[in-house]
Every structure is written in C-alpha cells, then in structure tokens.
C-alpha cells in the first residue's frame, strides 16, 4: 500500500476524525482545549481524545500549553502539504 493511501486511510479511519478535520478546516483560526473542541462538535473530550492525538501525531494539529491548559490548533502549513499529497494521489488514481 502506498504512503499516500495509508495517509488517506488514517485520516478517514473514524467518524470523529472526520468531524475534527471538518471543524479545523472550516475554522482554521481555532485554538482551544480538548474539552472545548469536543463541545464545538457536540461531543465530550473522552470521545475525541484518541482521534485528536492521531491528528497531532500526523502533524496536522499542533499542541502547546497555555498556563494549565493544553491547547490544539490547525497547523496551516502541514495541512496544505497533506492536502496537496492527497490531491496528487487522487489525480494519479484517475490517470491510472
């Protein structure tokens, strides 16, 4: 399996991850705690944690600490990079 395909599968591996991707894409300037991000998609922190950590692991979401809070935000540059990778992959499928 190609790297691109693996990436795509990973990004679309769960409903929650899809919701998080949509939320961050539509609101690229959002910077918030796990609890508040969860609330913004009508969920609880514990139900999004695994998927959020995976997005952090992929480099799509960056994290840092503000006082006693851990906050999450979209990494716009990495997001652009991943979008280009996926777009190229889809184009190659169409060609192939």
């Amino acid at each position: 399996m190609s790297k691109e395909r693996e990436l795509l599968d990973r990004l679309l591996s769960s409903e929650v991850k899809g919701e998080l991707l949509l939320l961050f894409h539509r609101n690229p300037g959002m910077i918030d705690t796990m609890e508040n991000v969860a609330r913004r998609i009508g969920r609880e922190a514990k139900t999004i944690e695994t998927d959020m950590r995976d997005l952090v692991d992929l480099g799509l979401v960056k994290t840092r600490h503000i006082g006693r809070f851990e906050v999450f935000a979209l990494d716009r540059a990495r997001d652009k990079e991943l979008q280009d990778t996926i777009a190229n992959y889809i184009r190659s499928l169409k060609r192939g």
């Binding site: 609101n27 705690t33 503000i66 809070f69």
Partner: protein, 260 residues
C-alpha cells in the same frame, strides 16, 4: 493625531475623521443591534481600503459562521486571510485569562499579518468566567496588551436594554477603561422599530452628539440622518418635537382649507 477610519463615512464624520490611533473603542448595544457587523466592517475596511491588517477574536461563534454571515455583505474573509490581511481567531476566554494567555494566543496572528486593528467580540464572554469584581482588572489587562502592541481596538459589549433606559455599560466600570463608546440601540417610533447610534464618549476629541438613525444594508452599516424631529428617544418614549407637531398641524389645516 492620526485617525483610524472606520470605513463608515458618516460615522467617521461623527468622529471628526475617525477613531484616535491606538484607542480602545467599545461598541455597546442590545442583541441584534449590529455590533458584530460594525466591528467586522471596521476590520474589513482597514484591510481593503487602508492597508491595515486586522485580527477578529471570537469566543462563542465559530469562524465558519462569521465567514458565512460576512459573505452576505460581500466580504470574503477567507480570501482576506489567504492574502494575510486578516486573521479570525476562535478561542475560549479562559485561555486569555491565563498568565501568558494573551501572548500565546494572539502574538502569532498579530505578527503574521502585521495587524494594526483588532476586534474582540465580545467582552461579555470574559465576564462569564471572571469572579465578580475582576472583570475590570482583566479587561484593563486586555486593552493594555492591545495598546502595547500598537493596535487600535474595538470591543463589543452586549448591554441590556430594559424598556427605554438602563444600559449596563458603566455599571461594570468598563466605561472608564475605554477611550470611546458607541452606543447602538433599538428605538420604537410610531409603532416601528428603528436603530439608533450615538457616540457617548470620545476621550481627547470633539465628536458629534446627535442620535442618528442607522441601517444594516447589503454593504454593512449605513448611518443615515439624525432623529431631529423627535425628543426623548433614549428614554424609550420618543415624541415629535413641538415645532414639528405645529408644522404638521399647520400643513394639515392648510390642506383642509384648500380642499374646501
């Protein structure tokens, strides 16, 4: 003194050219009076007409909704973000209240676009999180951070409008912290709801003191004419001024006479 133009020409005339550079401006009014539209227009005008980048800080409303609403006025905020003329930041007020919260959340977007303007919509969200009596202190810290960064700020404040009177702008002590207060409110005149705007305060500058009607048009806020024919508008019980009542009665009588 350099003036920061709002982009709303009649309002700028009322402000004798615009807001004073670096000032903190409060736009206060009840829900639905147009505070967000006015604040957005201030940023959009800065970015598109005056080459001044702006940051919009929202707490409750997601940017997605703000992008959509702005499109109704012909403002493409996403495009302005792509062109590094605007940033829309969505966060929780609790983060800004942390010791280095302001720097951690806002330094980057301000630096990225070399922002000259900033809007916080709204300060009421801050109020919900701070202990009673602390709001003034936290608002002061916020406004001083903006001034230190050389930003001209607009903060919105949802003031309750009970009956004709009773605005809570000054009850919280916030009125003393800001340099300029613009009050927006609904007024009932002859059984229709209209919108009124007035400048309550402008530190260090002369300003228009009339209560003016404004409208939300497809291009944003448009300030129209002063309510010259009415008195007692701020009390909630406006009435036609005697001279206009007399003129009306005179015209009516003349009409009747002509009809005879």
């Amino acid at each position: 003194m350099t003036r920061i133009r709002s982009g709303i020409s009649e309002l700028d005339k009322m402000l004798r050219g615009g807001f004073m550079e670096g000032d903190a401006v409060m736009v206060a009014g009840g829900a639905g009076t147009g505070k967000t539209v006015l604040a957005l227009q201030y940023l959009v005008s800065g970015a598109t007409q005056f080459g001044e980048g702006g940051v919009y800080v929202t707490f409750e409303q997601l940017p997605d909704q703000i992008y959509r609403d702005a499109r109704n006025f012909g403002w493409n905020l996403r495009k302005m973000e792509d062109e590094n003329r605007l940033r829309v930041v969505c966060t929780s007020p609790s983060l800004l209240l942390e010791a280095d919260g302001l720097e951690q959340v806002l330094d980057e977007p301000i630096r990225e676009i070399n922002a000259r303007r900033i809007v916080v919509d709204s300060l009421n969200h801050l109020e919900m999180l701070v202990p009673e009596g602390e709001l003034r202190k936290e608002a002061y810290r916020l406004l001083m951070y903006f001034k230190t960064k050389g930003l001209s700020s607009v903060v919105t404040w949802e003031a309750s409008q009970v009956g004709g009177q009773g605005f809570t702008v000054t009850e919280t002590g916030l009125g003393f912290l800001v340099d300029c207060i613009i009050l927006l409110r609904f007024v009932e005149i002859e059984s229709s709801i209209r919108k009124a705007l007035t400048i309550l305060k402008m530190r260090g500058s002369d300003h228009d003191r009339q209560l003016r009607e404004f409208e939300i048009t497809s291009q944003g806020v448009k300030v129209v004419a002063p309510f010259t024919q009415y008195e007692g508008i701020l009390t909630g019980s406006p009435r036609r001024m005697a001279e206009y009542r007399f003129a009306e009665a005179f015209a009516e009588a003349a009409k009747k006479k002509r009809g005879k």
